[in-house]
Assembly symmetry: C2
Homo-oligomer: 423 residues x 2
Amino acid sequence: MNRDQQRKLARHVAVVGAGMSTFGMLRDRNSTDLFLEAFRDMTESVDNEFDPTAIDAMYFGNFTNDFFVSQSHWGAVLADALGHVPRPATRTEGACASSGLAFREAVFAIASGFYDVVLVGGVEDMSGRSTAEVAEGLALAAMPCEREVGFTFPGVFGVIAGAYFEKYGATREHLMNVTIQNHNNAELNPKAQLNRSIRKIMEDKTRYAADRGDPIPTWLDEKEFLRDAAANPVVASPIHLFDCCPISDGASCLLLVAEDIAHRFSDNPLHVAGIGQGSGRGLHAADDLTSFEATRQAAEEAYGMAGLGPDDIQFAEVHDCFSIAQIMHIEDLGFFGPGKGFRAIADGLTRLDSLKPINTSGGLKCKGHPVGATGAAQLVEVWLQLRQEAGRRQIPRDDLRIGAAHNLGGTGGTSTFTILERR
Amino acid sequence: MNRDQQRKLARHVAVVGAGMSTFGMLRDRNSTDLFLEAFRDMTESVDNEFDPTAIDAMYFGNFTNDFFVSQSHWGAVLADALGHVPRPATRTEGACASSGLAFREAVFAIASGFYDVVLVGGVEDMSGRSTAEVAEGLALAAMPCEREVGFTFPGVFGVIAGAYFEKYGATREHLMNVTIQNHNNAELNPKAQLNRSIRKIMEDKTRYAADRGDPIPTWLDEKEFLRDAAANPVVASPIHLFDCCPISDGASCLLLVAEDIAHRFSDNPLHVAGIGQGSGRGLHAADDLTSFEATRQAAEEAYGMAGLGPDDIQFAEVHDCFSIAQIMHIEDLGFFGPGKGFRAIADGLTRLDSLKPINTSGGLKCKGHPVGATGAAQLVEVWLQLRQEAGRRQIPRDDLRIGAAHNLGGTGGTSTFTILERR
């Protein structure tokens, strides 16, 4: 066993609250508004009486607010907004994995023995900028040599999709399976940004056409809709519009405490069973474009700490910034073998009511992707599912015990994997 | 005793290496070059054989590279540059306290039991931008309402200096004492950006004037030079040019390990005796402009953990972004009473050879202030002094045992205080 498979924490950590704002293009709300909404939602999720002054320290993930809303130093800004000054607040940044990182730091801060109660969350405020500005801003997270040759994120993931198709014989039809599944899940999530199934979108478009007196579309099924270049235009071949997550505003947060005091806060706390993190060199140095080294490292660390393997994970949120990414991640995390992910999805194995539900929230693709909020928001979904509080999208199993979340930053530069367990 | 005075770590942490790049306006070097220089310097400081693959994880502080050099995600970029992929790398941002934060996270990561060997550092690359762009960029670290009304950093510290003068009867002459002392120390530091004493600067200017055939200046002493509006123009009254730290490029890093394995790396490791962090609301909400709430909180936490008080700290680096800040910090940290700091400096008590040496490196004012590198660089100076390796600026005492570093972010939004001890 190598050193990454035997890391342990000196003190156990539990999650006792979790909440998020609605995700969407929310131009009338700023980052502080959004974070306070998530914080209120988290507060209501704490089973027992909760005094916010018990919070010892805070960690926040944020990626783009420096240049999108001209404000850095969000630790201090949010500490002030929450009335938490003078207690410490730290911002972490790892591109789209920023709050996956924040969660880990919160775990370390408690496991070190220094703090007992730590708030962790993330926020992003992106919709005030044009799509072109967002694309340019997000590209700051790519590796320097990728950025310098003009790669944007859809470009990178288009190349990756092409390589995957070439290597394993997948096609665009397989990407469509991801899109359809995530839209189906998001329709059951009232906080999701794109909360309609593809079928519902088709019905709506048909009705609008009729209302306007336009020709009535004649799509036979969801895939025919997704093949229609007018409905689903190409972005960076083979990636089309419906393969991409949207531009989003939103916030999320969780309350972590030392496990020995968790009962004070919660009747049903979740145990932090495994935390893992890895880094990657980007496309230019990758041996294989169809796998992320950072994710494999994160998985190895988290499984090692938890003493668990991929088969023990009953469901997961994974970082589907693009549909191809969801396929790669379920392979890198070991849920399915290399080149087997797209077939597993085609066979329905990752549906809400199947063997290994993936992205029950709708994923980044449909729940939305306010980048700094995403890592923590994925863990909010794991919290809801493990506590049987996910409403209409609840996984229909009464033995749910172990769920996980996978967060990716940049073009594979950073990855985190976190396993939560109900005891 | 309140909860902030009794925080302890479950596992002790030691510093076994420390290094920094030269600081300066280094336009031909990028952040990666600078960090690699600091890393090499750190490597040479490790007493025993050191295999860099022993590093389990990394933390980096950076503030402005997103918008000054159009690259975010420095965890991944530096992990790649160091050949450290796929091991985890995390960026922290808390404005000018970014690597003070990184140091704390590295301590937690080890104290939690998860990692044994962690690299921590910081970098900033600022000189490629104009002074106006830098002023605008740095202002993103102020609190939103300060930024919105057009405050820049010299403006904020000008207001603070005015309030301090009003409350305690200090004058510009007292600020000059800070400037003169820090230049004297920097002259002894070969890596300092402004490594000439004020007296040397006067001599140089006199010689240049003679060479050019200009009228020969007739300054009688350093204060007369600093009073000369041509030599030392006003920036934001009462702050003049020589009260301000420069725009800098640079990097710094330290190697932290679990104390129980420190002997493998070092014959003379330093014990992390205390770590503290606080947040603040900025000027608009401060009860008193002459004291930083965040610093008082950071000091309380660090002293509490260490079981030490201000009188036990034999020397310190403090965050002198402006001369007035140095006076305030030595009061907020308890070295001198409120309103007593400026007199202590005037009386020579903070000189290199006196009771409580402050900023032996030359401080931000003269060593330079590459913002993300500063917090870690302050600790590099504490390392050198405690190990009696500070060369010509070595504090002339053979009983040096306890030193500390204080790092401030923004207009008081974040502060860290770290106490190192030689055992």
